[in-house]
């Protein structure tokens, strides 16, 4: 075991963690917006809107993230017409391709998490609001959404952790995230165990932080506190 290598690779891996965190936070933010939008569409009574939203989450939950990122990066790059449009400005960059893939993927899961959370809200709560004369819009924003967010916290915490680990796939489209830099160090030192142990430790530490933040939020917004 080469402890020296573990020690010297740590700062390089930590600075690569910044890239990982950027990818994670951007895709979680966009994914939450898309997820909320599609969760609301899923609850729509119109069968076409409903099926469209269902189709989106079905496709993106039913295919591997690696396949999605390859289709967006290498696949779309092969369409000549696309390269002449303004879309190419974004799709040319591996960074944005990764964020698009991660966003669409986490958005699909988030929409399902939020939809089930909306559906667990007891009709009595909404009826109580109505009988107090609160307008439907306010009921939705001030009662349904906060309850849904609280209900979805445990499942969403899991999704954040899954997504955090999923960002390691960014290294497959040339990005130098935590996994990318780990592989790079290995390619010059030929010592995978040492470097992957350090990289794995950093991932584990991030999971530890996320897990505890979610636990804290769950406690804070518990119905029974």
């Amino acid at each position: 075991m080469d402890f020296d290598l573990m020690f010297t690779s740590l700062p390089k891996l930590l600075s690569a963690t910044v890239v990982t965190l950027k990818l994670l936070s951007a895709s979680l933010l966009f994914g939450l917006i898309i997820g909320l939008l599609f969760a609301i569409l899923r609850l729509n009574k119109n069968i076409f809107i409903n099926k469209f939203a269902y189709g989106y989450s079905y496709v993106f939950r039913g295919t591997p993230l690696l396949v999605q990122i390859f289709i967006i990066y290498f696949g779309l790059g092969q369409i000549e017409y696309l390269r002449s449009t303004f879309l190419w400005v974004i799709l040319k960059e591996p960074y944005w391709c990764a964020i698009i893939a991660f966003t669409l993927n986490t958005g699909a899961y988030t929409s399902e998490i939020l939809r089930s959370a909306f559906q667990t809200i007891k009709p009595g709560i909404i009826e109580a609001g109505k009988s107090l004369g609160i307008p439907n819009k306010i009921i939705f924003y001030k009662i349904q959404i906060p309850i849904a967010i609280r209900q979805s916290l445990p499942a969403y915490g899991n999704e954040i952790i899954l997504m955090m680990k999923g960002t390691s796939l960014a290294s497959t489209v040339t990005l130098m995230d935590l996994t990318g830099v780990a592989k790079y160090i290995i390619s010059t030192t030929f010592k995978p165990i040492e470097v992957f142990i350090v990289a794995g430790g950093i991932y584990l530490f991030m999971t530890f932080i996320i897990h505890n933040v979610i636990k804290y939020l769950e406690k804070k917004y518990s119905f029974y506190s």
Binding site: F74, G77, Q78, R83, K92, P94, T172, T174, K183, Y184, I186, S187, T188, F190, K191, P192
Partner: protein, 275 residues
């Protein structure tokens, strides 16, 4: 009871036979994604110069060989951790790699080159046609300066953990942005998609791709050899496996003398890349 004894005996004999077969069996690792050195046909079988050469060398050594596939970036760690016993994957003999593994004598050599898309500003650069980095002359330095100017701030794609990456990182070509890929296929895809301004690899890797895909990938600038580009391609062997190393060296001598290497090289490269 008799039947029981018989069964045990049969099983033991069987294991003994298997054990002996395995003792003489060599596993050779290759990438299967670097044509014409090594690649796969549409059915997924490994083909290419090194696959055929490996079989010839094994015939000479009278060893039973299996050729196994391994991703390029894990090639040397896989050899060290005994996933296979030898590497034949277009791997150039370099000092950096010699710190971790041994190499047989070189069996083939082939120059590297930059490639751009047709219509690029850097198509048909006016430089020397070939430079050797082992001993850089004034003219060669001038060529490097021309390249440095032409590709200043440009993004150049290379396969990860290659001599080509080492060369770009050495700074001899000035300030370029390096983007690394897992396979040469991916480098070619992004070059033809226009995501990168140029790419650096074995010259045949580009000509082979241009021919097969019909994409306008063309070579530009000089061809490179020596220095970071190593001293030819050899068989990678674990340190300490000196018997296997000697066997391979002797087999390569014989194959060279019999003209087998030249014949295979001309078949796959279109020219005699043997050494």
């Amino acid at each position: 009871m008799n039947k029981f004894k018989k069964t045990i005996l049969t099983v033991l004999t069987f294991l003994f036979v298997i054990g002996n077969v395995y003792a003489d069996k060599i596993k050779i690792g290759t990438e299967g994604a670097y044509p014409p050195w090594n690649s796969k046909d549409s059915a997924g079988n490994l083909i290419g110069f090194e696959v055929e050469l490996a079989n010839e060398l094994c015939k000479i050594m009278k060893h039973d060989c299996t050729i196994v596939e391994q991703d390029w970036d894990g090639m040397i760690p896989a050899l060290v951790s005994r996933k296979f016993d030898a590497i034949m994957a277009g791997m150039s003999i370099t000092g950096e790699r010699m710190k971790t593994i041994n190499f047989s004598q070189g069996y083939a050599d082939e120059v590297a080159s930059l490639a751009v898309m047709k219509g690029s500003k850097n198509e048909g650069l006016k430089t020397m046609s070939a430079i050797n980095l082992s001993d850089v002359s004034a003219n060669e330095q001038a060529t490097l300066d021309v390249l440095g100017k032409a590709f200043k701030g440009k993004t150049i794609g290379v396969q990860t953990a290659t001599i080509h990456q080492n060369f770009l990182e050495s700074g001899l070509m000035g300030n370029v942005k390096i983007r690394t890929y897992k396979t040469q296929d991916e480098v070619n895809l992004d070059l033809s998609a226009g995501r990168i301004d140029a790419a650096l690899a074995a010259a045949v890797a580009f000509t082979d791709y241009a021919e097969k895909s019909g994409k306008g990938v063309i070579l530009t600038g000089p061809t490179f050899a020596g220095g970071d580009f190593g001293n030819g391609v050899g068989v990678g062997i674990r340190k300490g496996d000196s018997k296997l190393l000697n066997d391979f060296n002797a087999a390569i001598d014989k194959a060279r003398d019999d003209g087998i290497i030249s014949k295979l090289a001309i078949k796959h490269f279109g020219f005699d890349a043997s050494m």
